[in-house]
């Protein structure tokens, strides 16, 4: 029996579509049926755009029948709900945007659609991408397909769970402090955070504008390279996108990594890390060495300052970015009698607890008397963290380390202690602070059968080498072939 179409990777699907083995309609229907079969357990989707997806698939088939092709023609994907999709409800996982239908589509999504991709729907996330477990969604908690009692990670938990449950061939996530890489790791898939400025943020609901990046979440490295290829590049609608050429990421994917210098930062192998995670990551580093990479001990001395820098900078930026949700132009309005009461009540009722906590923290850090001590100081320490990486990347090509100190934790385990939850991101956050790129790739399982992720880190715009090393590692192991079993 041939394998069900929902089990295909993006490249396998494209090969089948191009060979005429199946239609985009059949493929899309297989994914929609899979969503019907498993999503009542996983709860990855906030909105399934069934009719539009099938309409898109019919168009893709018609284009192919006319002899056309495109990089993603007929490939069904899921989109994190913080990305604007014209006419399709976009909530950011927040009650304050319930019912909001954007009048335009985010550039990253638009580029996927222009390349022929089909949008299956919008997937769940922590409210405004603020969280590490998906438990901060204003709607419901997404479950980890590997163990339904556990979190999928956050904030792009719906994206990771949808791909891991094979309810999408790939997905877009966003990463402000690890929100692509952490859930990818917890759900046993590949997640890439591009360098700041590589992918347009136009149409991404802003959280921490100096940190946010959109990234692909896929079943393997080759698929991630393809989605990045389609999305990357200058966008006149986002002046922080770099106007520099986009390399052909797939072209060098299969090249040898012999002689590549990979740094192992001592600060990322700390007390408290789950033993199986450390063992799996160290074994992966050995595997990279056996493929010809040279492993070099390195030091990033300001690593333990990245988390406090992040929680000052990200919340300060969030407090300004989220000022726009005022009940006047879009979204929920409390309909209070006076102007200021309407602002206060709209925001007080519309935002969830974590979003309010971060707005409060950011407002405090920017307030008179505390600005220099918190925000000013954090910006200076940010310089030191960035310099740490610049010095290390003068010696090595990439860095290898864990994604998270632990595998997926239980739903409810950390909800009462925000600081413990924040510590989940201790290994991912410094990349956003420095603006560099990183990827999570499956590198093993713990004693409970939960996936473990290896993090490879590259310098700014170092995606080519990053993807090449990730691909070499992936192809020399079988971890990425394992799939969560759902009844």
């Amino acid at each position: 029996m041939p394998k069900p179409l929902y089990e295909l990777t993006i490249h396998e699907a494209l090969a089948g579509l191009r060979a005429g083995e199946f239609s985009a309609v059949a493929l899309t229907q297989a994914l929609l049926d899979r969503i019907d079969a498993v999503d009542s357990q996983v709860k990855a989707y906030l909105t399934v755009t069934r009719e539009q997806a099938l309409e898109g698939a019919r168009n893709a088939d018609a284009r192919r029948a006319r002899g056309e092709d495109a990089p993603l023609l007929g490939v069904p994907l899921a989109i994190k709900d913080v990305l604007a999709t014209e006419g399709i409800e976009t909530t950011c996982g927040s009650q304050i945007l319930k019912g909001f239908k954007p009048p335009y589509t985010a550039t990253a999504v638009k580029r996927l659609e222009t390349a022929g991709a089909i949008i299956l729907g919008k997937v769940n996330c922590d409210e405004f991408a603020m969280g590490s477990s998906n438990e901060n969604s204003g709607y419901f908690v997404t479950h980890n397909p590997w163990d339904l009692d556990r979190v999928p990670g956050g904030s792009s938990g719906g994206s990771a769970a949808a791909v891991a449950a094979q309810a999408a061939l790939g997905a877009l996530g966003t990463d402000t402090g690890g929100s692509v890489r952490l859930p990818a790791s917890f759900c046993g898939i590949v997640g890439l955070k591009p360098s700041y400025g590589r992918v347009s943020r136009y149409g991404l609901a802003a959280y921490g504008s100096s940190l946010d990046q959109i990234g692909p979440m896929t079943k393997n490295v080759r698929d991630a390279a393809l989605l990045l290829q389609v999305m990357a590049g200058h966008d006149p609608l986002d002046s922080t996108t770099l106007d520099v050429p986009v390399p052909d990421y797939s072209a060098t994917l299969t090249s040898s990594i012999a002689g590549l210098r990979i740094g192992l930062p001592q600060e990322y192998f700390i007390a408290g890390i789950q033993p199986e995670v450390e063992q799996a990551v160290r074994a992966a580093v050995q595997q990279l060495a056996s493929l010809g990479a040279e492993i070099v001990p390195v030091s990033l001395p300001n690593t333990d300052k990245a988390l406090p820098v992040y929680y000052v900078v990200a919340t300060a930026e969030a407090s300004a970015n989220l000022a726009r949700y005022d009940g006047v132009r879009f979204g929920f309005s409390a309909q209070a009698a006076s102007m200021f009461d309407n602002y206060r009540q709209t925001r007080g009722q519309g935002f969830g607890p974590e979003v309010k906590r971060r707005i409060m923290l950011g407002t405090y850090a920017l307030s008179a008397g505390y600005y220099d001590a918190y925000y000013g100081k954090a910006q200076q320490v940010r310089t030191l963290i960035k310099q740490d990486f610049e010095q290390v990347f003068a010696q090595v090509d990439l860095i290898a380390c864990p994604i998270s100190p632990t595998t997926a934790f239980r739903i409810g385990e950390k909800t009462d202690d925000p600081l413990a939850m924040y510590l989940t991101d201790v290994f991912t956050i410094s990349l956003n602070v420095a603006g560099i790129c990183g990827i999570s790739i499956p590198c093993g399982f713990d004693n409970n059968g939960l996936p473990i992720g290896l993090q490879l880190v590259g310098p700014h715009l170092g995606e080519e080498t990053l993807l090449r090393a990730a691909y070499a590692y992936e192809q020399s192991t079988t971890w990425h072939q394992n799939r969560a079993e759902l009844k």
Binding site: L242, A337, R347, L361
Partner: protein, 104 residues
Amino acid sequence: MKLTTKLITKLTTEEVRHVAELAKLSLTEEEIAQYTEQLSAILDYAARLQEVDTSGVPPTPYVLPLSNVMRADEAAPSLSNAAALANAPDSDNGFFRVRAVFEE
């Protein structure tokens, strides 16, 4: 940069109320009590930044070396009035309707 403010990592409920007002958030008494405790713990953690010697270190508000990205000042298509108002909780005659700014 001289640090003129002594860090207070134990917030009072009055400070939390003040910050909530700056952020235009109506909070319940329960939320104020909870945030007073939780924000104190997080700020205490953030206070470790003070241990770092940053004398002479420039700030990084933003990681890219870009500044003043300009474009030609040319008219281009934009949202229609109807599209811009489509999600408005309240609108009137092509405008967003807001509550009175000045009280009588």
